[in-house]
Amino acid sequence: MNATIALFLAQDGIINGAIYALLGVALVLVFAVTRVIFVPQGEFVAWGALTVAALEAGTVPGTAWLLAVLGLAAALLEVVRERHAMSVAKVAVMVVRDVALPFALLGLVIWAAPMRLGLAVYVLVTLVLLVPMGPLIYRLAFQPLADAPVLVLFIAAIGVHFSLLGLGLVFFGAEGFRNTPFLDMSFPLGPMMVKAQSVWIVVVTLLLLAALYAFFERTLLGKALRATAVNRLGARLVGIPVRATGRMAFALAAAIGAVSGILIGPLTTIYYDSGFLIGLKGFVAAIIAGLASYPLTALAALLVGMLESFSAFFASAFKEVIVFSLLIPVLVWRSFAAGHHDDEEEE
């Protein structure tokens, strides 16, 4: 291996690491606020890329239909479940927000899809379709289980993952897509060529991480999310609506997943089931950081990305094995560390 190859691999590692960092941070966020290990995170990545691909092809993405169906299901379920505590006003709000709005959106997409309005519009539409799915999935699958143990929530998350995977196959087919890059150019950096799309990914990632940091440290709503994570009962006692913060966390996770998918869509071919493996690597990073620290998760993600790209070069057949084996020493070390700090970590 020479320096050029090393640089090339490092570039790859940084890009992958950036995406894993976003996904890892989203997983930590969702887990902290709702105790759900958000296995379907990867589906949002795949759908982000595939929804843009469908729009580029001038077709109606299946996700537009799915949003309408999910909205209808969530509204129906909630009316049935909470019929004793439902006011007319509340039902009206739900009908507008969960049923009318998604169907209006679907109509709009069907009408506008053949017009090919350009990449910026596709990205916007993709986000508008995918972000509300996060809270809808939370309401359908996890809110009713809010007080269940972590294991039950995890099993529910796996169930959701498989259903979404199946829906992805129905909507997008088994075919893979590669999207048009935002910036189709490259420039030389030392001995190698850097794709502008790669720089774009790193910049967007850094901006998103900075925005998330500011949100959690500076805004009352961000602090309310952290408070829900730290002490759920305490949060309720100061009047933080913990269901709403749960939905908020899922919306952020859906947004982060969709953005990741939109970013990597032009760099690699995405299939309906590509998301899981990508999400899993974000998960590895989150686990290395103990599902708790955002900065540590981002760092670990960079490590995972680097390890992946270098092992792809040295032992490409074992690339995934090497990345996932990283978990073993980390977990062993964590279990030792936990043994010593048991009493301190209560609360």
Partner: protein
């Protein structure tokens, strides 16, 4: 509007098969201080948690004349009910300042600055420690923070579960002064205290709770003179 801010009637709360509160009725006049005294395990905390909506209960709870029904804790906070629970439930991994800010969550950001000034004026100790994580505070400082966080929400009905637990006498006096001050601002208070003597001194009305039931009720001064109360809860007579 009724003269009572809170009216509880026939309240039952159970943990599985064990009934910890059995048919309790109690009411708190607007701007009044009511205390519930009783031995350990009598069901005082359970009663408060049920009123707050933390625990499910049977029976009727009227707040400002309207039934609270099955509304969520966070909705009750929105109406102006606030509980300082026995275990305080602070945000351990967040700073003193963040804890206080979140106390005003239902009022929004605009209420934060003024409220914080007031709390710091009452508890200068918290001002010194405002950048410290709540989980690293001393026991007494934690109590002050719990009280401060509750005051930030400007409640109409404040329920205090043993607010003086583990505090030095000077701060205990401050807590009781706050309780009487709050009454002047029209806040109604439900107070549970191991220090029954002090509680009966500040309260207008008192209830005695035994094994989940109310056994005595009357003006606080009258109960303070009642021989059964003196014997069981004020620690005289029992010693001979």
């Amino acid at each position: 509007m009724s003269a009572h801010i809170l009216e509880v009637s026939g309240l039952f709360v159970s943990y599985g098969r064990v009934e910890a509160v059995r048919g309790v009725s109690l009411s708190i006049p607007v701007g009044g201080i009511v205390t519930v005294i009783g031995a350990n395990g009598a069901g005082k905390s359970t009663l408060m948690n049920a009123i707050m909506g933390v625990l499910p209960s049977r029976g009727e709870v009227l707040f400002q004349g309207r039934p609270l029904g099955r509304s969520l804790v966070e909705a009750r906070v929105g109406e102006g009910v606030c509980l300082v629970p026995e275990k305080r439930e602070l945000f351990a991994a967040m700073t003193v300042q963040d804890n206080l800010q979140l106390g005003a969550y239902r009022l929004g950001r605009s209420a934060v600055a003024g409220g914080m000034e007031e709390v710091f004026a009452r508890f200068p100790r918290l001002k010194e420690r405002r950048g410290q994580l709540a989980g690293t505070l001393s026991g007494g400082e934690r109590q002050m923070l719990a009280m401060g966080r509750a005051l930030m929400s400007r409640p109409r009905l404040l329920m205090l579960d043993e607010p003086s637990l583990g505090l030095a006498p000077l701060i205990v006096r401050e807590i009781f002064r706050i309780v009487t001050d709050l009454r002047k601002d029209g806040v109604s208070i439900l107070l549970v205290e191991q220090n029954a003597r002090a509680a009966l001194q500040v309260a207008d009305e008192a209830y005695v709770m035994e094994l989940g039931e109310i056994t005595l009720h009357g003006p606080a001064s009258q109960l303070a003179a009642d021989s059964r109360v003196i014997e069981s809860y004020l620690g005289l007579g029992a010693r001979h």
